[in-house]
Symmetry: C2
Subunit: 343 residues, 2 copies
């Protein structure tokens, strides 16, 4: 067992971990490890929005972006997902990952910047990007042999880590938590340029991508996931989508992962923006909708034990204002971080 | 809203609270306030154990103790409770409270000490006593107008407090947590003198009394408590009673409160001894049995909202070795802290 915080990011603590040194988690989990040379990563969501489902213009726009990912200095990994938002619009986006900000900057200037600068008939586009210092995010995986999200750029997975299976574990896995409360500071503001809207967030804005992969499940396990877990998860995700502002969530997308051509895969994730890690913690540990999700997951996992083949993972980032980029072109006013401006 | 830690017990923190300064709990709770002159309290459980239910010898012994409570320097408050333990024995005990250790010492020398020194035909007796510094325990009440346990000695109830409705709230309400991780130290040991067994605990042993009072409920609310909440609570309590050692719980008693004459009242509580506050925290926040209790309570309270008339309270103490006294006479070897010695 090892700390989720790799040795080169450990420092003298002014803020203690929530669990004592002899804590042993009741089941194993793993975190992604980057080479020590990686100091900052980029997580970029490029989306297209259409009032009609599966609009050819939306798919064409995203297919173009996917081609651009293949250009020099493109992302080392990307995936694609789709969901229907609170306004009934179809949203499809790619999440793309870099572990070299200079490469991202070069690629973005040449191939990414105009995503939200070029008007497309009948569809809106958005870019939501964070570029956190490696001390400001964490990952967690239920098994070490299949990566998702930023972890696809890792050099390897950790051994079993100590800081998990308790509330506050995500905070304790983020290296910055050793010395930083990661509380929000500054004001969120908006800059408009015609149809394009840019949101400048405040410090310590929080992003979570939290996913499930049921591709290896079948029979009773798959039925149990579909009947006992997924509906409860969906209800919680819909609460955050529709009423998230009550609990500090700017926006939530509960998405189905797709292949490059837009065919659904047996994977989903929730992706949401929060006022702070503290607000995310409070929802997760005490809101009835997440308590229900947690309870359903507990029953599922304790029924199946080590035989469970459902894979769970997440990544949580706490980004400073200068690590964020939000831009929206012809999107409806409840899209993503635009929700922060809605009454 | 105010801090659960009263001003005279606040000190510069070396350990931060788990929630940010702008945290606002989603519903109100209250804590008991003592006069600042109170520096230490005594919580004393005097029990009698019998292999047969409602044994006259047990009731007679306890009635005698109740008379002794009326002597000079006796407890300012006491109550009585009963449960059937894991060995099928009937246990009935009084919990008695002092807020002046000198009074307790005087009373105990004259009237309490021989409780576990005098053999009684057919029954065993036990005394489990902690005398914590006021910086080493906390209370919490769902409504401010009926006290239980140590809070019956309070001068008043607080305003709505900040540090509750999140995991780790109990720790944050204990004044010592401002500077102390409250981790166990030292070894638990046993001293035998014939049939009498004394257990000397380690530092930072943890006691919780966590109760519910349904005397004001009726109709649908009472049915909901009985059918949806109580069975789940009972299952968790039985897990701790039978398998608590797996999670750091030495002993758990899920008791029905009685009047002075042994008639059941519409109140119950769980009273348990733990290796550490950290172990109690881990069970509460992540063990399936308590996650189920928490989920049932959440559904109950969110269905009823402010109309709920069920009253909930608890008190959590973290006692140093020199603040503890455990003595057992003719009790079976799985009684209370004797469990710590069982294989």
């Amino acid at each position: 067992m090892e700390s989720a915080i790799p040795p080169h990011l450990q420092c003298p603590r002014s803020r203690p971990r929530r669990v004592p040194d002899d804590y042993v988690p009741p089941y194993p989990s793993f975190v992604a490890r980057h080479p020590a040379s990686v100091q900052r990563v980029v997580m970029a969501y490029f989306g297209v929005q259409s009032p009609t489902a599966r609009a050819p213009a939306a798919d064409a726009a995203l297919a173009e972006m996917q081609r651009r990912f293949g250009a020099e200095a493109g992302p080392r990994h990307w995936d694609r997902a789709r969901y229907t938002d609170e306004a009934g619009h179809d949203n499809v986006f790619c999440a793309a990952y870099w572990d070299d900000p200079a490469s991202f900057d070069a690629w973005f200037a040449a191939h990414g910047r105009d995503w939200t600068r070029t008007t497309r008939d009948g569809v809106g586009t958005f870019a939501e990007i964070v570029r956190p210092d490696v001390r400001r995010y964490e990952t967690l995986f239920s098994s070490p042999d299949r990566c998702e999200g930023i972890a696809t750029l890792a050099s390897h997975m950790s051994d079993v880590v100590m800081e998990h299976a308790y509330w506050g574990g995500a905070r304790d896995r983020i290296p910055a938590s050793q010395t930083d409360a990661m509380e929000p500071a500054g004001e969120l503001r908006v800059e408009r340029d015609g149809a394009r809207v840019r949101v400048v967030g405040h410090d310590a804005l929080c992003l979570i991508r939290s996913g499930q992969d049921w591709s290896d499940t079948d029979g009773d396990e798959l039925r149990m996931y579909r009947h006992d877990v997924e509906p409860v998860l969906r209800e919680g995700m819909e609460f955050l989508r529709d009423r998230g502002r009550e609990v500090g969530c700017f926006a939530n997308r509960y998405v189905t992962v797709e292949d490059d051509a837009g065919r659904a895969l047996p994977k989903s994730y929730g992706m949401s923006w929060w006022t702070s890690l503290a607000k995310l913690e409070r929802w997760a540990e005490s809101h009835p909708t997440h308590v229900a999700i947690f309870g359903a997951a507990m029953r599922y996992l304790s029924t199946l034990g080590p035989a469970a083949r459902l894979r769970l993972y997440h990544e949580v980032t706490v980004a400073q204002a200068d690590e964020q980029f939000f831009e929206y072109l012809n999107c409806h006013p409840r899209t993503g971080m635009l929700r922060a401006l809605a009454p």
